[in-house]
């Protein structure tokens, strides 16, 4: 029991008795985790926006009038086999007209006269694609099938937008990774410095006959605690900050197409990630530095 409690007790005492060093390490953790959190929030939301735009881009396929129901069934099967196609929804002439009328709101009522046999519209497929960048490719493949009159998707503009969002998100991800590496480097270095000031202490412990594990364990707990304490403020700021921004923007960025990531459970996932990052970096930093000094003494 003593073996388990001791490192924790000593770890706490270590933080308190080397307060200045502990505070500077905690600050390093805080600042970097805050930046990581900020960029993560941006990247995740860009992804969210890209997804929501992508899901709104569908391919609309009009079928020639002379294709009968069995032919439509065959066509549907053929389309489903195309790579990247997630869903093929059949919408017959009447559905199409309803949709058309609806889209014009009140004024659409004048088109009611086309109901029934006079309906000039075509039977259609509404196709969902796995990723935005597949839309063009899938469209081209559908276009050459027999019985297809016309293939339509949001056009080049929609594709361009998705492309831009994707590249912005990718650079965000790269930034987060670079920042993550920088954070680990910075925190490890700060902890290294704080432990360097206690190199003498580590050497004495070994001289008295303490095993490496015995010397190391309180420092590891100290590192974990520093990482943990350092992650509290960034987490609180992320949760309340993001909640505030999300609510004041009504969950969207500028237009309703750009939907932001809902606050929950996103902020919880973010918090777990930040704690994990802080704690593991603290642990790693302590481990590396203490082990290094242990090797220098016999």
């Amino acid at each position: 029991m003593n073996r388990i409690i001791r490192p924790f007790k000593e770890g706490f005492i270590g933080i308190i008795r080397h307060l200045a060093m502990s505070v500077s390490s905690i600050m390093a953790v805080m600042v970097t985790l805050f930046l990581v959190s900020l960029f993560l929030i941006l990247t995740v939301n860009l992804q969210q926006i890209t997804d929501s735009v992508e899901s709104k881009v569908q391919i609309h396929v009009q079928i020639l009038n002379d294709v009968d129901l069995t032919g439509i069934g065959d066509l549907r099967k053929q389309i489903l086999q195309i790579e990247g196609v997630v869903d093929v929804e059949f919408s017959d002439k009447d559905d199409e007209l309803n949709h058309f009328i609806e889209s014009y709101g009140e004024e659409g009522k004048i088109f009611e006269m086309y109901r029934g046999d006079k309906n000039p519209l075509r039977n259609a497929f509404i196709i969902e694609v796995a990723q935005g960048n597949l839309i063009e490719q899938v469209s081209n493949k559908i276009e050459v099938l027999d019985g297809i009159e016309n293939v339509n998707y949001g056009g080049l503009n929609a594709l361009k937008l998705i492309e831009i969002l994707n590249s912005v998100r990718d650079s965000g991800l790269i930034l987060v990774s670079v920042l993550g590496v920088l954070a680990i480097f910075l925190i490890t270095n700060t902890i290294k410095m704080s432990i360097h000031s206690r190199m003498h202490e580590i050497q004495i412990m070994r001289t008295i006959g303490a095993t490496n594990g015995f010397i190391r364990s309180p420092f590891l707990i100290e590192g974990i605690l520093i990482g943990f304490i350092g992650s509290i403020l960034p987490i609180a700021l992320s949760i309340f900050g993001y909640k505030y921004v999300y609510e004041s923007m009504n969950g969207v960025l500028l237009t309703s197409i750009f939907v932001l990531r809902p606050v929950f459970p996103f902020v919880y996932q973010l918090s777990y990630l930040l704690i994990l990052l802080g704690v593991s970096v603290g642990l790693l930093g302590s481990f590396i530095s203490v082990s290094r000094y242990l090797r220098t003494v016999r």
């Binding site: 003593n2 270590g14 004495i204 412990m205 008295i208 095993t211 490496n212 016999r298």
Partner: protein
Amino acid sequence: MIKLSDVSKTYKNGVNALYNINLFIDQSEFVYIIGPTGSGKSTLIRLLDAEEKPTKGNVEVSGINVGQLRHGKIPYYRRYIGVVFQDFKLLPSKTVFENVMYALEITNMNPLLARQRVREVLQLVDLSEKSSHYPNQLSGGQQQRAVIARAIANKPRILIADEPTGNLDPQKSGEIIELLERINQEEKTTILMVTHDIGIVNQYKKRTIALEAGHIVADMVEGGYIQHESNHSTI
């Protein structure tokens, strides 16, 4: 108990510290090691403490080949010997009590028994009132006694003391020697004491080994220091 056979030590920077030392010290002996600065006394302690490896020869303590000990095994060996360091080596961020306690904690001793033992040794070295002080709040002599308390807390088989009276006035020095004598007699602890203090060597006569320039120049079993006409005035 302690057996050095043909031990030589040359440091990496080329300094020769010891030449072909042959030495045998039996269990429960009390031995002074004297010699001028740079005569190899500290090197001898470092070899016994497994801090340094001999360049040549064997250092054997209780059948353990100290020079061949693996890095991970050294701590276990050190619990078996107690060292009173000249530079104290007290942990600055721990109180006197915690410093002594640390030497027992590393052996995973029952905390209750350990605390009791700490109080016991602190009383022995007359530091009970200073037990909650930090090392930098103590005088040199008090730090010295704290180090002795730590070195003996674990009841080591061998106690190596590097200038344990260096910072003490003659009266306190005498008390320390008497304390070491008591440990030597009651616990049958082998004691190796490095000293400059000719007064002590002559007053409390023990086997005395004199080192000079890395050689053993005298091994006086009957003890006492014989003044040569030559260059021993620096001792």
